[in-house]
């Protein structure tokens, strides 16, 4: 019997495909998310919009919050550790969370290195803005990738940009003559052997979700059209007027992203969406997507 294998880690991500992973901060919210059809929840002390508003150093959630959410949810529970903070990750693994997000939403703990994720039994998901970043994270052991977007803004533009960037670079890598692959790998800072895996499959070797700014069913469907396997919704649900209804609508939108009549129906009367932030109004130093190396 083997545990913590790459197949088990990437396999759980395969099971999440076509689904919505929702940020929750209380057991009550976790229940609402599960009732709405979420395929997993992210247990947090504060959603990204509140982290952004609060400022200061954002850290791993209090284990009591994570434990309480794990007790009520029958679906997988994820939790965030700071970039490079392998002790926070070990604590979350000891708590028994099902996936760890090494996340730029929290304040990085290491300004040069990410966590060596290969050594853990629990699987990790990491954010990326481009193919090089995605493949570096996979080399470190990430079993699932997501776009970074710009968390806590309710503005989908950065997630779209990051997704298109990754897809564009995959197409470019696949079209290159073999003699030019090593140089391209060097240019984007990606391990050569993983570049060859991408060329062989024509896609990332792990599941790729959208995250960072998704606020409406149409946003979620847009990310599915761009080639994502599913979506994370952070502040977009519990910062909106009617979380239960919006959560359910986003779940339905992800499965039926090509059915526009249905999208029209499920987008009706959802109440107030979260208030959005224009990206250019955020000082560069406060953009979470710049975190990660």
């Amino acid at each position: 019997m083997e545990q913590g294998t790459l197949r088990l880690k990437t396999g759980l991500a395969e099971m999440l495909k076509g689904g919505v992973i929702m940020d929750v901060t209380t057991p009550e919210q976790a229940k609402i998310a599960e009732e709405a059809g979420a395929c997993a929840v992210m247990a947090l002390e504060r959603v990204p919009a509140d982290i952004r508003a609060a400022g200061g150093v954002a850290r791993m959630a209090d284990p009591t919050i994570v434990k309480k959410i794990m007790e009520v949810a029958s679906i997988p529970v994820m939790a965030k550790a700071r970039i490079g903070h392998f002790v926070e990750a070990r604590v979350l693994e000891a708590l028994g969370v099902d996936y760890i997000d090494e996340s730029e939403v929290l304040t990085p703990a290491d300004d040069r290195y990410h966590i060596d994720k290969r050594d853990f039994t629990v699987p990790f998901v990491c954010g990326c803005r481009n193919l090089g970043e995605a493949l570096r994270r996979i080399a470190e052991g990430a079993a699932m990738i997501r776009t970074k977007g710009e968390p806590g803004t309710g503005n989908v533009v950065e997630a779209v940009r990051h997704c298109r960037q990754v897809m564009d670079e995959i197409r470019h890598l696949c079209a290159l003559p073999e003699a030019e692959v090593a140089n391209y790998a060097k240019e984007i800072g990606a391990p050569l052997e993983i570049c060859f895996m991408v060329r062989k499959e024509g896609r990332l070797p792990v599941v790729n979700f959208a995250a960072g700014g998704i606020a409406t069913p149409a946003d979620a469907a847009l990310m599915m059209h761009l080639g994502c396997d599913g979506v994370f919704v952070g502040s977009g649900i519990f910062k909106s007027g009617d979380p239960a209804k919006r959560a359910k609508a986003i779940v339905q939108a992800v499965t039926n992203y090509k059915d526009y009549a249905m999208l029209a129906e499920i987008s009706r009367d959802l109440g107030e969406p979260m208030v959005g932030i224009e990206i250019s109004s955020i000082p560069e130093a406060q953009r979470m997507q710049e975190r990660g190396w």
């Binding site: 545990q3 197949r7 088990l8 396999g11 759980l12 999440l16 689904g19 395929c39 629990v122 499965t255």
Partner: protein, 195 residues
């Protein structure tokens, strides 16, 4: 005239099942609504989240028609979440289900993701004449087990004394994920059931 197998594609690992079936040379497609269900001869319900899939089946009025099709004899294979949805009783849960398999299931029976495991499983029903019989590489991810079965249900494999693969006539269910491996024997067994 070949058989057409539909893989329920509401959420989860449907792509992998389609690939596994196509590798065996049959026509396989993703199904998302009643019209598509009507166009197939047999169905696979994949792994994923059983609560999510049950909810979507209910919301879109697919649960009862699909149950009726299965009760009328359409062959069906459920893996992991698919197994849960097929069972008559889900321990401590009122979540929506098809309920066509006379069995009681416990979700996440081995624990959380850190307890997920791979193992070699003895599955005598996969043996074929002229082939050397090998154990099956079984991938268990937050997997369920079957606690009790009715008289019509055959237990095909066990882990730690608990049923992880069962068959009731034209209904097949496994706790593990053959679609995540290159071993096609479980899918081949299902196709044999369909013909």
């Amino acid at each position: 005239m070949g058989m057409r197998i539909g893989v329920l594609a509401l959420q989860g690992a449907f792509r992998e099942h389609v690939v596994s079936l196509k590798r065996l040379g049959v026509e396989a497609c993703e199904v998302r609504n009643l019209r598509e269900i009507d166009s197939v001869d047999a169905m696979v319900i994949p792994g994923g989240e059983s609560t999510t899939m049950g909810k979507l089946l209910t919301d879109w009025g697919m649960l009862t028609p699909l149950r009726t099709r299965i009760e009328a004899g359409m062959p069906v294979y459920g893996s992991c979440a698919g197994l849960i949805l097929l069972c008559r009783e889900i321990e401590n849960s009122t979540q929506p289900r098809l309920g066509v398999l006379d069995a009681v299931v416990r979700r996440n029976a081995f624990g959380r993701q850190v307890d997920s495991f791979e193992t070699l499983l003895d599955l005598p029903v996969l043996a074929r004449q002229g082939e050397e019989h090998q154990p099956f590489p079984a991938v268990f991810i937050r997997a369920p087990v079957i606690l009790q079965v009715g008289p019509q249900v055959d237990v095909l494999a066990e882990v730690k004394g608990q049923a992880v693969a069962v068959r009731q006539g034209h209904i097949l269910a496994t706790s593990f994920h053959p679609e995540l491996t290159r071993d096609s024997r479980m899918h081949r067994y299902f196709l044999d059931m369909c013909s």
